[in-house]
């Protein structure tokens, strides 16, 4: 099953729109090249990362003082709703899909994704969802103000009474984004199952490919639940059905199950590819094979399975009977096992290596340490008694920002720096990269660490005003937030500046082992002139063995002594 008549797929019809491979205009076309689509995803999502970050700074600005005095409460509520929505649906998911789009075909030795047109359609649905979300600012009553969970009955309260309202547009955008992600998932799973180069058996795939596969399987089983939940809520809101509306006999807790059945596994959809990034970067800059490759690969799949049976831990304080609380506590803590195995494997990979602290390595190391911290607070949250105290407080906000910013976003930065030379054919500026890392690392901890004591003291999340006893830690968090805002400036400068006039990058600037490093930087349109035949496991650092059959490959992995 590893070998399919690739020629039949690869020699397909030409691209619908003409354009030279190095013509920048191709990024604004309906291109079916997975590399173009990957960069389209990355640039679009980063734009919305800035939008979501701007919302975050308004939130942190409001929280500098205990009173609700910077913006009106309705505006504050819209800000945290849109911050969460934009960061998840327009930054985290699309950026990871973009990276996977770029890397997976190159890493498995394919010329493109299995369904190139589906790929392009899935991407172009993202700007549609984004425009709908942004347009909701101009809807009567403003954008959705029910939080990114959109729990009914709050999300069904429509103060303007208009048919077209912010919540309606929000639900439409989420449903579209869900359909887009399902299309992407079908494409990724098929590509990884059917398009691997000859010799690339499952246990020769790079861990990044394993994690993308694990994550996209979650999308396949989980996303339909969220999308269906969103559509049902939309019908309750607009057409007067009563799935979730308690005033008409509906069950609002049912919505919570629909929502979290997907939205908890969604965390693993995000974090698994980040684990994959760690597993790629650590061996390269430690010059050692990944420790326990097989167990790391299997643990990703274990997480895929376990993540499907943990969702009720978001509802411990909700209308949840005690037996359910206890059952889901046991399943949730079990997630720590495959995750812990990975952490140990990375530490063992680093141990005794020849470490080189480049920007991607720094970001990956910083993200690893913050992930360990987030994992420990995660276990605390998994236990019912502690969760009952800190559920819906800033403790949770601190915890998941260590996951989503400290780990996932930092991991994305690591990946962007690491593969920037491959994507653009230019080297980034190392000094600016290191500055970006240190500002981000300090800013993240300053912003999100104070949220833990706040939550333990009992400050609820989503509040525009709070009791004066919480002021001290909130001021610190806000300073950290503004520092994080500033931290993106060297990144933007670096990316734009280096892409335009950076030093030309060689094919393999990191002396890394992997199919993507054996093609030119940036890779040619069809990736591989000749499909490589893989003869070894990945991460053969220090082993002096060829990765692929043929002379060309042997040259690349031989050490220059």
């Amino acid at each position: 099953m590893t070998n399919v008549p690739i020629e039949a797929i690869a020699n397909r019809t030409p691209q619908p729109l003409p354009g030279a491979p190095d013509n920048w205009k191709r990024f604004f076309t309906f291109s079916t090249d997975h590399k173009v689509i990957g960069i389209q995803y990355l640039v679009t999502s980063f734009t919305f990362f800035l939008v979501g970050g701007f919302f975050a700074m308004i939130i942190r600005g409001e929280l500098v003082t205990p009173e609700a005095d910077l913006v009106d409460r309705t505006i504050y509520n819209a800000m945290f709703t849109m911050h969460g929505t934009v960061m998840l649906f327009l930054w985290m998911f699309p950026s990871l899909v973009g990276l996977a789009n770029y890397l997976v075909p190159l890493m498995i030795g394919a010329r493109d994704m299995a369904f190139p047109r589906l790929n392009a359609i899935a991407f172009w649905m993202v700007p549609v969802a984004a425009i709908l979300l942004m347009a909701s600012f101009f809807a009567p009553g403003g954008p959705s103000q029910s939080g990114w969970w959109a729990y009914p009955p709050v999300s069904l309260q429509n103060p303007t009474g208009k048919l077209l309202n912010g919540q309606f547009l929000w639900l439409l955008a989420v449903a579209i984004s869900g359909v887009s992600s399902i299309m992407g998932a079908v494409n990724f799973v098929t590509t990884i199952a059917k398009m691997r180069a000859p010799g690339m058996t499952l246990f020769r795939m790079p861990i990044y490919v394993w994690t993308v596969l694990s994550a996209q399987i979650i999308q396949l089983y989980g996303l339909p639940a969220l999308t269906a939940g969103a559509v049902m809520l939309l019908m309750d809101l607009t057409f007067g059905t009563s799935f979730f509306d308690p005033a008409k006999g509906g069950n609002p807790v049912l919505y919570q199950h629909f929502f979290w059945f997907y939205s908890h596994p969604a965390v693993y959809v995000i974090i698994l590819p980040i684990f994959g990034i760690f597993s790629e970067i650590f061996p390269v800059f430690a010059r050692k094979p990944l420790f326990g490759y097989k167990i790391v690969a299997i643990s990703s799949m274990t997480i895929t399975f376990v993540s499907g049976i943990v969702w009720v831990h978001h509802m411990f304080a909700s209308g949840t009977p005690p037996w359910m609380r206890i059952f889901f506590m046991f399943t949730t803590v079990f997630v720590a096992v495959p995750t812990g195995v990975k952490v140990f494997a990375w530490v063992a990979t680093l141990w005794g290596g020849k470490l080189r602290l480049t920007t991607p390595m720094l970001f990956a190391l910083g993200a690893l340490i913050m992930f360990v911290f987030a994992g420990i607070t995660g276990i605390m949250l998994a236990t019912v008694p502690i969760d009952i105290h800190v559920n819906n407080t800033y403790f949770v906000v601190g915890h998941f920002h260590y996951v989503l910013f400290g780990t996932a976003t930092m991991g994305m930065f690591a990946a962007i720096y690491h593969w920037f030379p491959k994507m653009t054919g230019r080297m980034y500026n190392e000094g600016l990269g290191q500055l970006h890392f240190w500002l981000t690392f300090v800013g993240t901890n300053l912003n999100f660490l104070p949220m833990h004591p706040l939550g333990l003291m009992g400050m609820p999340r989503r509040v525009a005003s709070y009791d004066p006893e919480f002021a001290f830690w909130n001021v610190l968090a806000s300073i950290g937030g503004f520092l994080l805002g500033m931290a993106t400036l060297p990144f933007i400068l670096n990316m734009v500046g280096s892409w335009v006039q950076g030093k030309k990058a060689p094919d393999n600037p990191w002396r890394a082992i992997g199919l993507e490093w054996m093609v030119s930087s940036p890779p040619p349109v069809e990736n591989f002139e000749e499909i490589p035949v893989v003869v070894a496991e990945p991460y053969g650092y220090g082993k002096n063995e060829p990765l692929v059959a043929g002379d060309r490959a042997a040259d690349l992995v031989t050490e220059p002594s």
Partner: protein
């Protein structure tokens, strides 16, 4: 392994354990005062998890920082590290250890949870605790008097408490100390969350349901009750005071409150809404109007002046 390496590791582990134990003791200070019997149980579990978590965090970060500090490579050194691909016994050990740890944590947490016996939705009230697990409220009270029953009514965005026995209504929650309290939580509109940080207790209030919620205050004083489930525009303002009093003071308060003629209580959400609607320019978007301010025998002090 050399004796010296083993000794070093043992010394490091002891030092780590000592630091972690100290951090675990500090953890009690990060939490509000322990005002309910349940809070002691929760804090005990939290301190345990902080100790364990600190130990693991220090192990991992210590190893990473050590290797980053020691195993750095020279600028022009292009050699590779040792090609170690794994170690099966080690991998089995470090899979088994987390399994044992998480089972320990989960079982311990379950015991704590059952001791708390907070009940909650759909719990059969007459269900007894499993034998051998002592309920949190058994300790402070030898002779069990029937729990004090109070109705909690929540609506956008105000709390109202009814004491059915005495025909008293209030916007401040008064509770007797060292006595089991049984609340009947209900909401008239959206989901609200009943949360008293000093009690470490929280329960969402679901529309069309009455949720029984039990606990035992053990410390006199004034605490905060906050809405913990986002409930719309004035969510953050939906807070009030909880006053835990001695039995005598509590009975006096009830008796006095019963004599008061009902007054319209101050309601921050309603007050802010009125102020905003009087302004000519609306700085925000249209909101669901707050429910009318409640008329009660006893109004909370907040905003009275």
């Amino acid at each position: 392994m050399k004796i010296r390496t083993i000794l070093t590791l043992v010394v490091l582990a002891i030092a780590n354990a000592a630091i972690s134990w100290w951090v675990g003791q500090q953890a009690y200070h990060w939490l509000p005062p322990q005002a309910s019997a349940e809070s002691k149980l929760v804090d005990e579990l939290f301190s345990f998890l902080v100790t364990l978590g600190s130990f693991i965090f220090l192990c991992v970060t210590g190893a990473v920082l050590y290797t980053v500090a020691v195993h750095r490579v020279g600028r022009y050194d292009t050699s590779d590290g040792p090609p170690i691909e794994g170690n099966i016994p080690l991998e089995i050990v470090w899979t088994a250890i987390p399994i044992a740890l998480v089972i320990w944590i989960a079982v311990y947490s379950q015991q704590i949870y059952e001791k708390m016996a907070v009940h909650g939705p759909m719990e059969l009230v007459h269900l007894h605790n499993p034998i051998g697990i002592e309920a949190a409220y058994a300790a402070p009270m030898e002779a069990m008097s029937p729990p004090e029953e109070i109705e909690v009514h929540s609506r956008q965005w105000v709390w109202e408490f009814r004491y059915p026995g005495q025909d008293v209504t209030s916007t401040e929650l008064h509770l007797p100390v060292d006595r089991r309290v049984k609340l009947a939580l209900q909401t008239e509109d959206v989901i609200h969350g009943f949360y008293i940080p000093a009690f470490r207790l929280k329960q969402d209030i679901i529309p069309n349901k009455v949720i029984d919620f039990e606990f035992t205050p053990i410390r006199e004083g004034k605490y905060r009750l906050r809405d913990s489930q986002y409930s719309g525009t004035y969510f953050a303002a939906m807070q009030t005071d909880v006053v835990v009093q001695s039995e005598a003071d509590y009975q006096t308060w009830l008796a006095q409150a019963a004599k008061q003629t009902p007054v319209t209580a101050y309601n921050r959400a309603a007050a802010e809404y009125t102020r905003a609607s009087e302004k000519r320019i609306n700085a925000g978007w249209k909101t669901v109007p707050p429910a009318p301010a409640p008329i009660v025998n006893y109004a909370a002090e907040e905003g009275r002046a």
